[in-house]
Symmetry: D3
């Protein structure tokens, strides 16, 4: 029927429009490294999981160089419980003794290889490594207010040569946040910290945190105060204002640290929105909050107006 076909054509043209709309973004990020901290709900919900992997794979295929850094928090807890191990806490942080560290590493590697599997399924070469491979992440013991809480590490140095080698060979690297200290002992590292340290070391263009919040609020109690864009200066002011609370504080510190070290734009994305990563990168509809460096503002001012 005529009518149907006309409808079809209209839809097709809309499709073409979406693809054409992506042109400047594909161009802007061609060959650029984008570090994605993958965690939260997007890692638990199977549909969201598949969508994140589709997004990252698409980024790879159109010529960007994405890197996934993932956590494994909730699953670690569930295995610790399942094994009937006692959990001790200090200042709200789990004490990571040797047996706990062993479980944590096993779980993180399991998650790691399951992500490899999903990417390979989409036909892209993936490789799953930890911060131990190629001496990627060197750590020192992290104390919690002066107290030893076991094998919890603070990133001391990132040796990115393994990442560059893998990117050069066209792999999509998937990294779990485990490192070694100078005695080659294994430590757990906070995944946000690891992602930030890696983004800095590889001079990433973009660092995106998939979280379970909508973004940064000017007033945490007012859901209408969501901030869509923060300059470095504004981010600092917000921190000093003291209204940023809880889990957002270290994340915002990581954002600022990344920007100061050459990352052009850091995103706090709501990982509960399907394809949030794709939408953030390929449309000019901002999702979540972006913290932006100075040289990056030019491109967006130019493109987004």
């Amino acid at each position: 029927m005529e009518g149907e076909s006309e409808l079809d054509m209209e839809q097709l043209l809309q499709k073409a429009g979406v693809l054409i709309e992506a042109l400047p973004y594909i161009q802007r990020f061609h060959g650029k490294i984008i570090v994605v901290k993958y965690g939260g709900s997007a890692m638990i919900d199977d549909k969201l999981k598949k969508e994140v992997i589709q997004d990252v794979t698409l980024l790879k295929l159109v010529g960007f160089k994405p890197i996934i850094v993932h956590g494994g928090g909730k699953e670690i807890s569930s295995w610790v419980d399942r094994l009937g191990m006692k959990s001790e806490f200090v200042n709200g942080l789990r004490v990571t003794d040797a047996p706990t560290m062993e479980i944590a590493e096993m779980v993180l590697n399991k998650v790691n290889k399951s992500l490899v599997q999903l990417v390979e399924e989409l036909g892209v070469r993936a490789i799953g490594i930890s911060g131990k491979d190629g001496g990627l992440i060197s750590v020192k013991k992290k104390l919690s207010e002066g107290q030893d809480i076991g094998f919890v590490g603070e990133v001391e140095k990132v040796n990115p040569s393994i990442i560059f080698d893998l990117l050069e060979n066209d792999f999509l690297p998937i990294i779990c946040p485990v490192g070694m200290d100078e005695n080659f002992e294994t430590y757990n590292v906070n995944a946000d910290d690891a992602a930030c340290a890696i983004a800095k070391a590889v001079k990433a263009e973009k660092l995106a945190f998939l979280t379970d919040i909508e973004g940064v609020y000017r007033d945490p109690n007012d859901s209408s105060s969501l901030i869509s864009e923060l300059t470095l200066r504004e981010a600092n002011e917000l921190l000093e204002g003291g209204t940023v609370g809880g889990g957002m504080l270290p994340k915002l510190n990581n954002c600022i640290d990344a920007i100061l070290n050459g990352v052009s734009r850091v995103h706090i994305l709501d990982g509960r929105i399907p394809h949030c990563l794709l939408l953030e990168i390929f449309t000019n509809k901002g999702i979540g909050t972006a913290i932006i460096g100075d040289q990056d503002m030019k491109f967006y001012n130019h493109e987004e107006k």
Copy 2:
């Protein structure tokens, strides 16, 4: 308002869907050469022109290797007229004497550089060459039913090294169909023939003709008999059936020739449809008629069902 934002989100998700839908096609054609014969209305209408260039540029940016081969037919005629030169015809073909050849070459180069301009404007490196550069196209004189019709050439050999060099250096090559004979005289070449010869010489994955028709009809008098897909065998049968007429005959011969020489899929597209190239490649809604080689059928059978 809630409602508005929900609408927004739905639109965004549709956008993401379109991009994700492109994934298998991006993967399939990554690093592959796609020759686009650019001509007809799509070359005259400024909006269509811009859209073709956007399409080709997008192909380049997502990792394909497009090559444009263009004609210039109508504009050549108009300049010949403007210069008050006489036109002589033999069997319906214009006799191309030396002064006409001079005009033709000038006009083709003008068109060539105007396409370079449009691609460069989109931020992609373009280079406009003719079949004389780097000895790309060698021709011999073409007779029309035994009669000398001047500097009209038949492609004898394509030396593709210049194209490989330019692709290697990340250029989008734009080629006008002019060649030289063994005495280094300049000849005009039919753009369809040139595109086909180049596609064969560079072992293109795809060859697409932008035309001013909807595609191939089983019965030229019945507009509902448009064929969306032809195997090599069917295309041959159609030819032998004798119903293929006029301008379609040499085009279909070119298609078959290309397939027999290693091109996986040849498209006769309706260049009057905006973004027909993009739609053909990135959606499973066929535009126009595709002639397909055997190994290509597998992919499409697998993907499109």
Copy 3:
């Protein structure tokens, strides 16, 4: 004291002698790939473990290209028990249901990263991967006498490009025997089979199995009938003779398979002997049993007589 110093000098000269004795072997295997199947006691005893890693690292440093393929058998069992999971057996083979496979993969990855750690500690770049990374190992379900025993895979194809990429970048690859089927499901693979399949795919010069036996016996009941060298023909005769029993049968089949596919020499080493790998390669005192291909005989005949 004179005397002491003379003694010293004598010891020093002996040391020099050992190094010089290594010369022809270093030369022979320069740049050659050596696949080491690492398992058994050498994987449990900490001293032996350290020594194996020292050996492999030395091989790397003097210019060979060693690859470790490891198992994890006993540790998998212990974790299955620890988690209170039921074990079911069919024809003596453990049925690997999904939860068991999950545990197996976690344990194998744990072992994998602990080996990375040991190699990195010696200052050599290691990378731990599984057969899922880069699509290295493709499997199909293996039946045990027609019965489904779960996620136990038979190697269908090895795609060695990831290994070549890693060797090219000077990594020592450490591989755990896990693969995926065509639906991207995870399967456990016998480590001997994986080592053999990888050795064939990368055209290894040598394949060495670290085992818990002295080698192959002509008569399994007569410990003085240890065979130090078998030609391909002799190995086949031995198999046909029917005296080879138990665990040795598949191992010997793997050896023959590897030789037939271009590996020059396969070793069944006694992994309980410290530095058995080094001794086998760098001295002309054979350790265990060697199965040798025809072209390899020339070198050894020349060197060892």
Copy 4:
């Protein structure tokens, strides 16, 4: 006959002498870029034209990296006339409106491809490009004493990457002086200015202008006052002296500009002398006037005395 043969041998030895005499020059310019501004009579007279192309081709074959930048002045005028277009002049400069620019570009491209043809005929890979290809020449509108004279451009930036790519692939680049402004509009550029800007951007060793004069005169009215060599200081003094007139003034300014930007030696050659380019480079008989930078003086002092 004896006598004849002796005569032959003497001629042969003279030939050998000429070739040997070329040795230090071949050595001096090996791998060096030489920009040739090609224009004037040498472009109109067919014999001279062929000789210039032979010269440039020889430079290419003995290991130099020549680049041709050509004009097309007289032919543009003749086509403008032929098309019956009105010519308007401001301060002696032709006003280049859009239709004129269109003609100019067509003619320049025609000349460009005819040069490609001649070089290809001699068996050397040539490629003809304009300043639009690869974004080679960026311009801004040039005003004539404050007045808009249309699409006449002043070089703002040369992006030489396309030239380096082509040289790397062993092409002889032939360039016509057309550029684009920031809105991707096409402009005509003075060929001398384009050659000078390109020579500076590619750090050419030599820049040679083929002209229709003998060289620079100390006194324009005294044909015996031809200067064969000018240092930078002397060239400046000459300019300040005010005796340099007409067309020589901008040319001399270009020479000085090139020298100041790293070109070692600029030549104003008499293009009416056959093989003037070859003679200038391969003999120590100066043709025309050379403006020389400081580091270049050493070589010539050493070689030419």
Copy 5:
């Protein structure tokens, strides 16, 4: 004076003509390997020596890849005498005992480095090696009618990898004809044989022998019967005719051997003519006798008529 200047210009144009005449030859041999057997008078007379070196250096500079293989015959004899050593002869061949071999090698290396010196003086990178370096020439003992005449070797194998490495690094290799047998004993090799064996191993385009004769005569007693060109067939007929005598016989055999193994053209040049090498290559006036392979005839037929 007008007249003088006109004379000058005429001479200059003749110079240009000589250079232009060289064009097709430079093109033909670009990147091609040319082996020059250097010996005879051209090695003793200081002026001729300098001219040969100039010729070879020029070949290098215009893009060919010349290789010099030299002898040292007369100087070896003079040093043997000077050291008061007895000379013994068998069938007219000097018996080369160990002390004689020692002298021979010393003298050959002396000559070798003196040639390096001359080439370096002309500003070209030279390297002097013997057939011992990089295992270039492997020999076996050569018997003279069944009798042992000492360390006189017959070339068994040429391993050209050292030559390719040196050419790749842009060296002009200068080689003296000394080789080693399978026990790594040093042997003297006839320089003609060495040159021929090397030309075959490196697939040289041309092999030129500098000799002390005018060329090959049809009738050795008739100086007017000098042959300027021989096809392979004619050369064989000449050999079979039995009129070729003395020193020419092995030389002609070497020529035929080289042609049969892929060298396009072999020259027997009169090394007493200054610049004979240059004249042979760059002019169409043949010097001496050329033995030509079939595919080479085409070029020369085309060029020389």
Copy 6:
């Protein structure tokens, strides 16, 4: 027998121990350049000679980049005598007139090629060059207290590109100390000076002098005062102390010069001890005296305690 086999095993384990002990040293010097000045008794005694060559070859095979610089002193004298030439001395130095230089060069090249022979025999690619090849060593005439003593040169400049090219192509370069002055005249150079100058030019990690003494003594008259390690400061103090005498003085100056120019460690080894080179590098038992730069101390302090 049991007992015998146990003894065997013990010996084998000792062997393995020696190899493992070499690990950190192999790692430390991987890819590093080590210049060995080869002279004295180790060059005359056939057994020592063979052992030095074995040592250097082993260094090459395990991944270091050794370079041999050799002298030829005693053999030159013996040939000068044999040829009945008069020797004249000035301040204890032989006057090197042209005929003596000719002999010296011949003898040095003879030694050079005999070393090539020994290395090739061990299956490693060697190439023997002099300082004339590739313009390696440029010299000026050296005066002895103001007096001209002939062709004795002082190193002015080392152009190491030939060495880098040869190392890149995996050759073991063997260099004899002959150079050319600006007029391309040949000069003899002291081998110690040549080795030191080369070590500096190639930024060697280590420079080792094989000598006929035990090392440096604090008190030359007290054989128990042998110094095993000297810092730069201590070496300077020793020099200033005035107790260093005779041949050691210039050697120590060379050592200090090398250290100051970036060589990490210089060794004065007792070449009369078999395999002294190997022992020095692969064990922590110091042989002779080491002069060490500051950054090198760290490694040895760490490794050797």
